[in-house]
Assembly symmetry: C2
Homo-oligomer: 414 residues x 2
């Protein structure tokens, strides 16, 4: 097992192991946010027939070569209905937007450019052939490649599938993620927190972080620091696609998770990532037999969230078949000077403030890895590179934006 | 009823009418993405007691004033357990991370700075009082304002609620949105599309657009162009928070929706917004009696999506209690010259391409309001102001980013 990898090395190894999951067929209406596991080819021509782009009159353009011309209105074509018969020379048909063009007609004159007089309509202009006609296939030709595999399905894609008559669609499976907390000191939120016990908040933060990206968390509960209890709970997660355990705050003496994983056939690929918060991270996988990717996170609330963010989230997105794996990133200007020792990459919780064209980043309160409150206030994680020891006030730094509302505009821009 | 408003006027009137909905109490674990309807004040001190930040030994600092010093290890304090008795002068206690500090102890010495010899531990350093102790209340003091009303609940906030023992929380209600399609030519996706009939894709695009922002759509079906059918369906949506109808492509002759709305007591506030796609938009509200905000959208698929985007989506977000109402906006450089007539603001469907520090915008295919395909390809809506007639290639323009994956980074930045 390798030890003490850089964040970049760790991400690379994990993403190489995180293959897209297989496909499943879902009702198209349930496909929002899923990644297409098929290339969608149109089985239809859309629109299927030439039709009118306007409310007006279908005509033969040659009849109106020398306006003004008055023609009898021989029938009306509403949308959704075919003309009762072809349009003959010297005839006009009332036609509404979207209605199929009568055979024989080759142009539409807008209502505004006509004068209706009883059963007759008077034209004051001479249309080009093809005027105000939407051609069959203008939107989609039959056989056209409409959506690429890997497309993340949004509202327009679902509308397109509906238009194509596709009531079901193949998408990549959502990763099922088993979440295990471990530590004798952990209790559920309604538990007693006297005697140094603390709420196991990681199962809440990590379940929400899974749901936010469309992964499907299941909770294995809080394991006591005993191999038998840990093994029983881990076994219940072996049929998932990923297993995410977070230790209690007390690592070391009481950490049996790793040895139990190995006894179950999990190969531990690496241990320790040169980052802060979050050094004690383990990545494992089952080889030669089916089993989840295994992510062992540190127990401190912030360490668990930040290692999930950097090392688990991109993998789950890749497993779901998505191509966009990483948070939006901006260059921010430091609002204060940061210093640290060389060796580990620090992810600094920051507040972000727009000042003109700049974004200024300042640390979000207490950076202790036990202080979840600063994580509730952070809008970004500032990347303080491993070998850097100082970023001065006014200097630029990369910031991963973890609060999507920060990117929203204050106004619509109109 | 006012007619022909600017987009900005229309947005202003709608947002003034879109008040945050009332509160409901939900299990905290279900609160992801909801807007807090209460200010959360801590009922707990976190951590509740002074505890050890490290695995090591709890001591009285004064005992180690002149190292090296060897002390007897009188007991062990794991996390989650109180010490069996106070620590007396001349004693050390083994202590694990997170474990409560024994009464009498005032410092922790890290394991790495000690040598254990059977029941005795030898210290080679002299700690400051308070060393490696996490103080009670370091994260949160009892009575502290932890989360503001209006906060959009993300993973960290849900973890914080769990830590505070808050298993339920008050959030603003999700807007219930009734969706009605109208037009004799419309069929469901599995319907027959011969004879100029078309699939009612708007119910799919708009339902997905609602779900994307946490609103709760319900579908009233396709109304025939007959007042009785329209009225029957609209009545079924009157207990929702918003009613969004989209006409068939054929507006004008067959549009009974507005008159039915008025007969039901809806006051039509304005009609027509100077935008393209999407002029024929109507906004109404019930006054003096309960009823939904009413949004009448044009029937063309792109017109329906763009008017929803600009005039309905911000209102639904405001009703859900959110503060971030508008899409991220960037300044892009035109990759081609755009021209139009003055008078209406155009929302131009564009593809976006990063080129160094710039983003270049180019139109996404056919801009006809019937061509949904270009909407599946668009990553942004470029704002071509109402009175402008030309934006030249290489010139800047504001773009609302509607494809969230465009903002994702290609890498993690580490």
């Amino acid at each position: 097992m390798r030890e003490g990898l850089s964040v970049a090395e760790a991400q690379k190894i994990i993403l190489e192991a995180a293959a897209p999951l297989g496909a499943e067929t879902v009702p198209s209406a349930d496909g929002l946010g899923r990644a297409l596991a098929e290339a969608v080819v149109s089985g239809r021509t859309l629109p299927p027939e030439d039709n009118s782009a306007m409310d007006g009159y279908a005509v033969r353009a040659a009849d109106l070569a020398t306006p003004p011309v008055a023609l009898p209105v021989v029938y009306e074509v509403p949308a959704g209905v075919h003309a009762p018969r072809p349009l003959e020379r010297g005839e006009a048909a009332r036609i509404l937007t979207g209605a199929p063009l009568p055979p024989g007609a080759d142009a539409v004159v807008r209502q505004e450019d006509t004068e209706r007089e009883g059963a007759t309509v008077r034209f004051v202009i001479s249309p080009e052939p093809g005027a105000h006609i939407r051609r069959a296939g203008e939107d989609v030709e039959r056989g056209a490649a409409v959506l690429d595999a890997g497309t993340c399905l949004g509202p327009a894609h679902l509308g397109m599938l509906a238009s194509l008559g596709r009531t079901s669609v193949a998408v990549h499976r959502r990763p099922r993620v088993a979440l295990l907390s471990g530590g004798n000191e952990l209790v559920e939120p309604d538990g007693d927190i006297t005697g140094g016990r603390i709420v196991s908040s990681n199962s809440y933060t990590l379940a929400a972080a899974c749901r936010e990206i469309g992964a499907d968390p299941s909770y294995l509960g809080i394991a006591r620091d005993e191999p038998a209890d840990i093994e029983r709970r881990l076994r219940a997660g072996l049929n998932c696609d990923a297993l995410v355990s977070s230790a209690g705050v007390s690592v070391g003496d009481h950490d049996h998770v790793r040895s139990v994983l190995e006894s179950l056939g999990c190969r531990l690929v690496f241990w320790g990532v040169k980052m802060k918060p979050g050094y004690p991270f383990v990545f494992g996988r089952f080889e030669g037999k089916p089993g989840p990717l295994v992510f062992g996170l540190p127990g401190n609330p912030v360490s668990a969230m930040v290692t999930f963010e950097e090392l688990v989230r991109p993998a789950l997105l890749a497993m779901a078949g998505h191509r966009a794996l990483h948070r939006p990133r901006i260059v921010a200007t430091l609002g204060e000077t940061l210093t640290k020792k060389a060796g580990r990459l620090h992810f600094v919780r920051v507040r972000l403030e727009r000042q003109g064209h700049e974004v200024v980043a300042r640390t979000a309160g207490n950076q202790s890895s036990g202080v979840l409150r600063s994580m509730t206030q952070a809008q970004g994680l500032l990347i303080f590179p491993a070998e850097a020891t100082r970023i001065g006030e006014g200097e630029p730094a990369q910031v991963q934006v973890i609060d999507p509302t920060f990117l929203a505009s204050a106004g619509s821009g109109v």
